[in-house]
Symmetry: C2
DNA sequence: TCAATTTCATTAACGTGTTAAATATATGAG
DNA sequence: CTCATATATTTAACACGTTAATGAAATTGA
């Protein structure tokens, strides 16, 4: 390779000279570790969702509607952990595809109420068993109790701010 | 709980009739828990990065260049956990802003070599201390050892596929 | 040597993430 | 009741994520 001067000085030019200013190693960083773990998990689900022609976020939305019935947009944003602007787009797309219906709340004209449509229920019925199977396979391989422990630790991390 | 025959029938219309088809509760799902945890962590860093006018991904890239010196795009994609198409855009933007430089590899014309520029080093010097401080605050509040445990568990989850 | 294959990077197209601003409706103080 | 303020949703603008396709350079094997 590129042996710039006399000997192996690959880092010389860009080196900080001392490590105090350098951020700690990328591989032991919480944000990236969380990203990697999440991607590894989603890699199991994504191809299956793609076969059913829905995205991960669309799946979260219709799944919550199937669980919870009629839900307004704010509540949905909260439960599905999707920001309002993204949710607006996702709702539009799901409605156009006939998977959900949308109506104004009669008591509060600002609110948008969402409900799953029969077509959406069909998707739930198709995807749920496969999703479940994938999750259980994952749980088994990682260890059921360790998943619980991990979920608790993640929850606590997510709630550090309160 | 869900006694859904005679009384309280809010969910009847959208109910599946039996719970076997329903996905398990959203709040105990690994993908969302990982997302929530990651967002909670990033919420601490994002405002600081925004003040320095860089995104999280741009920060990962220049930080890796500061750590590792000259790096080609594939290696960068790997280390920063950024997909190639995103990386192409990020590299373009960082180069336009003068934070990095880019050259073709003389030995392999397909490869693109990246290096941090002085302007990029300035950003590193500005952001690193703040980043470190935020991370250490976080580590302290969550518990140093628990962070280590969590990182190990996340790593194992990310490597289940191998 | 050269055609087929593989690898690296980019482009394209679409969906989502993120912040700020705009719009519409509700609510509350006077 | 009315004006100011607060809340719910949408729009806008830009960056990134994701998959597939393209272009260019390297590698392989006949």
């Amino acid at each position: 390779m590129s042996d710039r001067t006399a000997m192996s000085r690959e880092k010389t030019k860009t080196d900080l000279g001392h490590d105090a200013l350098l951020p700690h190693n990328t591989r032991r960083s919480l944000p990236i570790a969380l990203l990697r773990a999440r991607e590894a998990v989603m890699a199991h689900f994504r191809p299956m969702l793609a076969r059913h022609d829905i995205t991960e976020q669309q799946w979260r939305v219709i799944r919550i509607l199937a669980e919870a019935g009629r839900v307004d947009a704010s509540e949905m944003a909260d439960k599905a952990f999707i920001l309002a602007p993204s949710l607006t787009r996702i709702i539009r797309s799901l409605e156009e595809r006939g998977l959900i219906t949308k109506h104004k709340d009669a008591d509060d004209g600002r609110r948008v109420l969402l409900e799953i449509a029969p077509e959406g229920m069909r998707v739930i019925a198709d995807v749920s068993p496969e999703s479940r199977a994938i999750y259980e396979e994952l749980e088994t391989r990682y260890g059921r109790e360790r998943v619980e422990v991990l979920l608790d630790m993640l929850d606590e991390l997510a709630n550090l701010n309160d």
